[in-house]
């Protein structure tokens, strides 16, 4: 299982990647949507875990760009803002919606479930 992590908080995303690594998940990470699109162009991923709120480009826009390159990819949205709108859009657009701070075991479980479907 190959996972792409995108979040503007480098500290968070790098640590998360390392922790997922401990749990046998193959992870690439980046802090910008631009780079994420470039990475998707270079290699194939099973799942993308995207922060909904990022400067310059929202997770939802990024998802559309990634889908145009790899249509079969699955998505998990992560957000620190639990507004009604976020919840509605997040649930509708993504396969899974998780709130920050994340529980690592719950994330691993979600990744496995999303890939299995």
């Amino acid at each position: 299982m190959k996972v792409l992590l995108v979040d503007d908080e480098q500290e968070l995303v790098s640590t998360l990647a390392e922790r997922l690594g401990f749990r046998g998940v193959d992870v690439r990470w980046t802090t910008t949507g631009q780079e994420a699109v470039a990475m998707v162009g270079r290699e194939r991923f099973d799942v993308a875990v995207l922060d909904v709120k990022m400067p310059r480009q929202s997770g939802i826009q990024l998802k559309k760009e990634i889908e145009s390159v790899q249509p079969e990819m699955k998505f998990i949205f992560v957000t620190g803002h639990g507004s009604e709108e976020d919840f509605r859009v997040g649930s509708a657009e993504a396969d899974r919606y998780l709130a920050k701070p994340l529980d690592i075991e719950a994330l691993v479980r979600a990744l496995k479930e999303v890939v299995a479907t």
Partner: protein, 587 residues
């Protein structure tokens, strides 16, 4: 979080939560009630003045006009009666003088000095005219040769008498009335005839005053009118009804001389106003007077006056009563409308406050969430390193520290999640709401207070309640207000029960019961009224429960209250399970 509301119960420690509305509102409502009183006074005064003034002015004018016309009618009437009577009296005297004149012209002195002839003339006079008593002939020396009549006056010498002097000057003389020998009042008329030789003789007669008295007594004078003759010295020449008998002095002032009829007002001996009409009868010592009580003459006017004043009093009463009634009603309506407005304003402020608090909470939560997530991941990574490596795997102290960090992060994120949920719930879209979850969230805000004050909170939720579709933010506020109220009502160590169950297919019921101080029936009836509070001295403005009432209504539900003093209070809220289903009144 909430506004300290009406309710019969709110301790001082709750005041801090509602301080945002209190000071200005209290000032506003106090000032407002003063303004309304002033508005009532001004409006009532203005309306009364505006409507009463023209009425009073018109009535006063009408009163004066009517009074004047009545007075002038009295004057005119009196003048007419006096003039007519004067003509009658004058004619009666002139008639007799003319008769005497005819006798002295028709008969020579010698003929008249024949007593048999004089007797014959007297008899003819008496048969043609009333009032003649006797006849006498006096020569120019003043000696009465012949006299026929009831008195023994033959041979009387009048040469020293004043009237004898007077008649020589005026040719015709009329005396004052005098009692005479028989005490029958009469007057003397004397007529002089000049003879060609330069001498003269005088025919003299006594006339009974009864003649004139009868004439005056037969006058029809309105009221207690009195008509009589008086001489220039003020001695009555005929009897009067109420101003003395004949030959008695008149109890009124003698009218001053005027050639024509005079009518004037004076006051009688008893001080009552009199209307007097008088006229001097020419060539006689007589003054004709007609005296009447002014009140008797004004009697018809008094009736009119009574009607005018009665009309004024009745109109004024109606105007005042109607004005006061209408003004009171108007001001009541304004008071009511203003209370509604202020209540609506405060509800809007309250809602805005909740939304602002929600946004603030969400902002804080969001900003904290990211660093919190980093702390959690870093600590998680440390734990991973310990677990997956073998260097620190056996160090229980380090593992304990990491677990403690993770535990604290979880506590923080529980707080931020609650704040975020609160913010999310201030949105107005109806969403599916789990009642159990909502009650738990609301109680989460009260947890610490319950703990400090040892209040026991029992929650009982039926399994079949499930989710309802409603506005979660409003539901939270409703629960928060009602539960807050219950907390305020109970003393430390009290008990609050919250029960939720299905009422019917389309409604759920929420029951919040406390064993606090309770309310009287009067307080219970007014508990949802804006500004009703029993705790104003502790800062309550009486809006909490009225806002709750509006919020429940907004959600299509109803709220009712049941209370007993000393036993406790129960609030019953009925909410539709979806916005479409109508709430039924459970009150």
């Amino acid at each position: 979080m909430t506004d300290p509301g009406a309710g019969g119960h709110r301790p001082a420690d709750r005041a801090q939560t509602g301080s945002w509305v209190r000071p200005d509102l209290e000032i506003e409502s106090r000032r407002y009630s003063l303004n309304l009183r002033r508005m009532w006074q001004l409006t009532a005064l203005l309306m009364i003045v505006v409507s009463v003034s023209p009425l009073v002015i018109l009535t006063a004018i009408d009163y004066r006009v009517t009074e004047r016309s009545a007075e002038s009618e009295i004057l005119l009437n009196t003048t007419r009666v006096v003039s007519n009577t004067k003509v009658a009296v004058e004619f009666s005297l002139v008639e007799r003088i003319a008769a005497l004149d005819f006798i002295v012209l028709d008969n020579s002195f010698e003929q008249l000095n024949d007593c048999a002839r004089l007797t014959e003339i007297l008899e003819r006079l008496q048969s043609s005219f009333t009032g003649f008593v006797d006849l006498g002939v006096i020569d120019s020396s003043g000696l009465q040769f012949c006299y026929v009549g009831p008195y023994a006056l033959s041979g009387v010498d009048y040469s020293g008498e004043q009237w004898f002097e007077d008649v020589q000057q005026t040719r015709i003389y009329i005396s004052d009335v005098f009692p005479g020998f028989r005490h029958v009042p009469h007057m003397v008329i004397a007529v002089k005839r000049d003879l060609p030789d330069g001498s003269f003789f005088i025919l003299r007669t006594s006339v009974e005053v009864a003649l004139l008295h009868k004439l005056l007594a037969n006058l029809e004078i309105s009221g207690e009118g009195d008509a009589f003759l008086v001489n220039h010295e003020g001695i009555l020449q005929t009897s009067s009804r109420s101003h003395g008998d004949v030959l008695e002095p008149l109890d009124l002032e003698v009218p001053s001389y005027a050639s024509t009829t005079r009518v004037y007002e004076t006051s009688g001996p008893d001080g009552r106003p009199l209307i007097v009409g008088s006229v001097y009868i020419p060539d006689t010592p007589l003054i004709l007077m007609i005296v009447n009580q002014k009140s008797a003459l004004m009697a018809p006017w008094s009736e009119t006056r009574r009607q005018v004043i009665g009309f004024l009093v009745v109109s004024l009463s109606i105007i005042v009563v109607v004005t006061l009634g209408v003004t009171t009603r108007l001001v009541e309506r304004i008071r009511w409308a203003d209370r509604q407005r202020v209540a609506a304003l405060h509800q809007t402020e309250y809602t805005n406050k909740m939304a602002s608090l929600g946004r603030l909470g969400a902002g804080v939560a969001h900003e904290i969430n990211n660093p919190l997530a980093i702390i959690k991941e870093k600590a998680g990574l440390m734990k991973d390193l310990f677990s997956f490596g073998d260097r620190y795997a056996d160090d229980p102290k380090l593992m304990g520290i990491v677990d403690s960090i993770l535990g604290s992060v979880d506590r923080c994120s529980a707080i931020t999640r609650r704040l975020l949920n609160f913010a999310r719930d201030t949105d107005t879209t109806p969403v599916p709401v789990d009642l159990r979850e909502t009650v738990t969230e609301v109680l989460g805000f009260m947890g610490k207070e319950a703990e400090y004050r040892s209040i026991e909170v029992a929650v009982e939720i039926d399994d079949d309640v499930g989710e309802i579709t409603t506005n979660k933010g409003r539901l939270q506020q409703i629960l928060l207000n009602v539960i807050n109220n219950a907390f305020a009502a109970v003393s430390d160590g009290g008990r609050i029960e919250i029960g939720i169950g299905r009422l019917d297919s389309s409604h759920v019921g929420i029951r919040v019961t406390d064993n606090g101080c309770g309310m009287t029936e009067a307080q219970r009836r007014r508990v949802f009224e804006p500004f009703f509070t029993t705790k104003s001295e502790r800062g309550g403005v009486g809006l909490g429960l009225s806002i709750t009432y509006s919020l429940v209504s907004d959600l299509g539900g109803t709220i009712a209250v049941d209370s007993e003093v000393g036993v406790g209070t129960t609030f019953l809220i009925s909410l539709p399970t979806s916005p479409g289903s109508k709430g039924e009144d459970t009150r």
